[in-house]
Symmetry: C2
Subunit: 120 residues, 2 copies
Amino acid sequence: MAVSLVEIRTQHDQVFTENCPTRTVLDHVMSKWGILVLLALSEGTARWGQLRRAVDGISEKMLASTLRTLEADGLVVRTAYPEVPPRVEYALTARGDELMQRVLPLMGWIADNADEIVAR
Amino acid sequence: MAVSLVEIRTQHDQVFTENCPTRTVLDHVMSKWGILVLLALSEGTARWGQLRRAVDGISEKMLASTLRTLEADGLVVRTAYPEVPPRVEYALTARGDELMQRVLPLMGWIADNADEIVAR
DNA sequence: CAGAATCCCGAATGATACTG
DNA sequence: CAGTATCATTCGGGATTCTG
């Protein structure tokens, strides 16, 4: 796995420039809510209401639009069950799970170091 | 190292809630420009002009404010040399470097998968 | 060269109310 | 329960100009 920017560049000539697909993915995944929704889903399948409570502070509007973006990116799957009352479940796709394997160590580090960083 | 949200929670009771320091760090590091500036610096020390060119599309205003935020967070050091014309160098701190060790695998994965994700 | 200061617009976000 | 619709608002961020 590439562990330096130089290595990444050896395999991609146009990385992280404007209009590069990587910028789009960055915007979706690293967005304020995107990463928190993905984080919540990293624990497993969750329903709309669960996500709303798990992602502290998110509005219904932002949860909806974030989920739609992540679903369009193929990182999240939405499953609606034809029941009354309605039940809808969200889960990571295989690709989403792969992504979160890279994100979780980062989130762990942030959780460990946030106090010191913000304190200064 | 923590590799799941459950593990992270065992060590931190208030993780990723609103008003939690982690949210602040997330906003700084995962911001549109923050991560790209950090990425550019992961290759080593760089001057203002180099950063401006390395981070494609960034305005002077955003470069300045991003650098100030990252410096205040202790992730970047600024060194000004008392010369004419002025020379200023930016570099990752030890903490910044530690952070980027977690970020780079993620960026590599994004570079590898961005095309497929956006194509859909 | 390396910024700081100002002005300003539009997209992103939030709050609220409503619906299948 | 799981959303959508609408409106009000903020503020990220670009363009421009100026300075040590």
